[in-house]
Amino acid sequence: MTITEERQTDAPEGEVGRSRRRKEDQRLITGRTRWTDNIQLPGMLHLAMVRSPFAHANITAIDTDEAKAAPGVIGVFTGADLKDTQGVNANAWPLNAEQKAPEHLPVAVEHVACAGEIVAVVVARTAAQARDAAELVDVDYEELPAVLDLREAVKDEVLTHPSLGTNTSAFWKLDSAEQGSGGDIEAAIAKARQDGIVIEREYRQQRLVPAFMEPRSTVVDPTGEQLVVWSATQIPHILRFLIAATMGIPESKLRVIAPDVGGGFGGKLQTTPEEFATIAVARRLGKPCKYTETRSESILSAHHGRDQIQKLTLAAERDGRVTGLKVELLADLGAYVAIVGGGVPVLGAWMFNSIYKFDAYQFNCRTVLTNKTWVDAYRGAGRPEATYGIERLMDELADEVGIDPLELRAKNWITHDEFPFTTVAGMTYDSGNYEAATARAKELFGYDELREEQRRRRESNDPVQLGIGISTFTEMCGLAPSRVLGSLNYGAGGWEHASIRMLATGKVEVVTGASAHGQGHETAWSQIVADRLGIPFEDIEVLHGDTQIAPRGMDTYGSRSLVVGAEAVIRAADKVIEKAKPIAAHMLEASVDDIEFSAGRFGVKGTDRGVSMPEVALESWTCHNLPDGVEPTIDADATFDPDTFSFPHGTHLCAMEVDTETGATKMRSYVAVDDIGVIVNPLIVEGQEHGGLVQGIAQALWEGAEYDDQGTLVTGSFVDYTLPTSADTISFVTDHTTSPSTTNTLGTKGVGEAGTIASTPAVVNAIVDAVRHLGVNDIVMPCTPERVWKAIQAGAPVSAEGEREAAPHFDEGAPNQADPDPSASVEGSLS
């Protein structure tokens, strides 16, 4: 089967910058895929999990007899059976030495701290038999009081883990005065209270479900010399380390493979109880075992994201210049401190000040345990929360000052001639141009025209009001400099590794430690290497996601693959060239100093003599006539550890129509102009942006994980956890401005999370902007029609008689309509 490529006529000369269609697609569009659940091994057994229905309980007895006698069942294992072999789900990022982190056992032994925790594992010959038998496991629980609400949890009246004595896991603070990166926040606020403006708000970051499309699955084969683990994970290398570190298996006896992985968004940046339980059972039985979760299990037991209460105090002068920001966060970790769960909200510490120049800044974060599913990274991880907070506040301040919110931002942002710029949080941004991105976004959006339309609709009292939402975001990504991670108490490094193998037949294998799960690394890395080594794009194979093939790696998350992983690839390619030069010189009977490499050819300066890279590769393989002392290979490895983060930014503008009578909202247009530095593949970048936008928009409008007061997740399936569909969304306008990053060879910045970070406040700002004149200054996310409607009702202006005015509910003069009773409907709405 062939795929025809349409070469773009305006394509750049090299591969970098070209909208190459993806290499990955051929298998995926024809169903020739290798998802973990597709794997079948001889004698394979299937697992089903018995899960706690209670949010908080002691396990008093488990009767497995009936389940063991069920057809096809090979064994039933409780936590007590596995406790010495199952390892532990580790927290790799303790915020400080005082952090409290309850032990997180894959299969609970005595105590469950949230609904969905595994209490027993059933193994049978088929998945259906295992599930049937799981119903027969009889567990006696002693139910304990559960604490579910974040504010209640802080009081420590009911404890998530009674043995810890508190629900607070850790407290973490960044203060600009203390660290010398800015002034004193309390002084700034006190001054603003006297003669300036103080904006105080509390925002809720609701709990979200990452909802990758491929449910998680793990296959374990214990029959070889090495234990082989296939898993639907973003982090095969980190998983391998943590299996070795906690299960007593030598790392050298472990091979972890992430085959085709169907999305992650942070949700597969985890070592899961299910992985560890499957390994423990497979080792016990000596047989290959598979566990694949149902979607309902995934929503319940794969980690959740966000879930914060943000108390924010912004101090400004009367003209709108911000003098200080104080952030007080309560972050809900759920029942356990997950792999980087405690650290995620702290990633916001350097981002609440965003693109702005504030005099003083303080960030306080308290991480809190509750009897709910554990919380960890979800696309953006800490930075969407921060961006939401500050971008909502900037709109509020603009309203208070009485100027256009874009003008207010321009008054405060770092100007393009001020880079590199060290912020009040102490982070140095290398490059950016907020003016250029904003100008381009305004132009594409038709900003002035839409403002005019908004004015007309307000004046005519149109029942459908128009709002314009702004988000001028930046983020720090490209995790991460190992030294910085070390200073933050993170348990691993942030480097990335690459190898380039120059095959005798002229083909090239590029091995990357960044483990892709939809991002298109195979295509983008091929483009980069094609340019670097002068090898045709088609002749390059990118290999990843298997610790036996790619033994070194730190995997894919935090928009790190291109800026860290591909930089390692570039450095390995440069080493290949350097290793090839003496061989080429020998072949050409020239001095190494006279060899120059260009477009895949080693030439002798001043002559037309030369040899190609594949010719040198072949020569180094036959090894028949190499110069003395030269190693007979031109393969090369490189490990790259960045000095700093990557700081993409952009201006996003969103127009929302709000029906003031029903609360229904409709997205009219969305423009995103992102500065992500030099772009390797515009097509892939656009795809990342579109998908990111919709995830952020979904937080604003639709998604939210909700528990009842018993601690049962009521949004436990795709029926109730409402992912956006094609019919809910619109087509977007995306464009770019380019300030190349100064911290890597190609000048690239991360893009994987940008859309999600930027879009949530843009949408909510637009909705609030549409109804601000009705007395509304906030709507809790997700902004459902009910919440929008209630906010409008609560904010509706009070008439002279003391009664709230309601918008007319019926068109005047239309047939078959009863005369509305405004006071009655308003009374109802206020109850």
């Binding site: 259906a128 499309m213 449910p215 979607r295 656009e686 579109h690 399936s717 029926v719 569909t725």
Partner: protein
Amino acid sequence: MTRIQVTVDGVSYSDDVEPRTLLVQYLRESLGKTGTVVGCDTSNCGACTVHLDGVSVKSCNVLAVQADGHEVTTIEGLATDGELHPVQQAFHECHALQCGYCTPGMIMQAVDLLNDNPDPSEQEIREGLEGNLCRCTGYHNIVKAVQQAAKAGVTS
């Protein structure tokens, strides 16, 4: 166990199945047609979409015994004679997939949509794909791909 006879991607199969077996389980576990995948347990996501006698169905929502005597086409049988189906080609051209997990179902649904309506508007495309969830692409490029395939005059 019940005996069924089903033609899948042009090959005739005869098997004994438990009556409760879902069509998607039969395809994946008995026939090894793992190109068709399972994304949820409430028939919301559409990842398992196949064609039953030429019309799209969510194969998690059909029992294998209901397919007895019928013809099933999966993503693996869509390309013919080594040539990609135009919708497959358009998904590739328009970068309408990232992780690719929803893609088999999305493509099968898009083919069905274009069979019903060869010249759909953007809104009709969006509504026609409403039963298929994608978490990666934001749907933007999927809609473009269907538009491109429509322009190419796709009918299967």
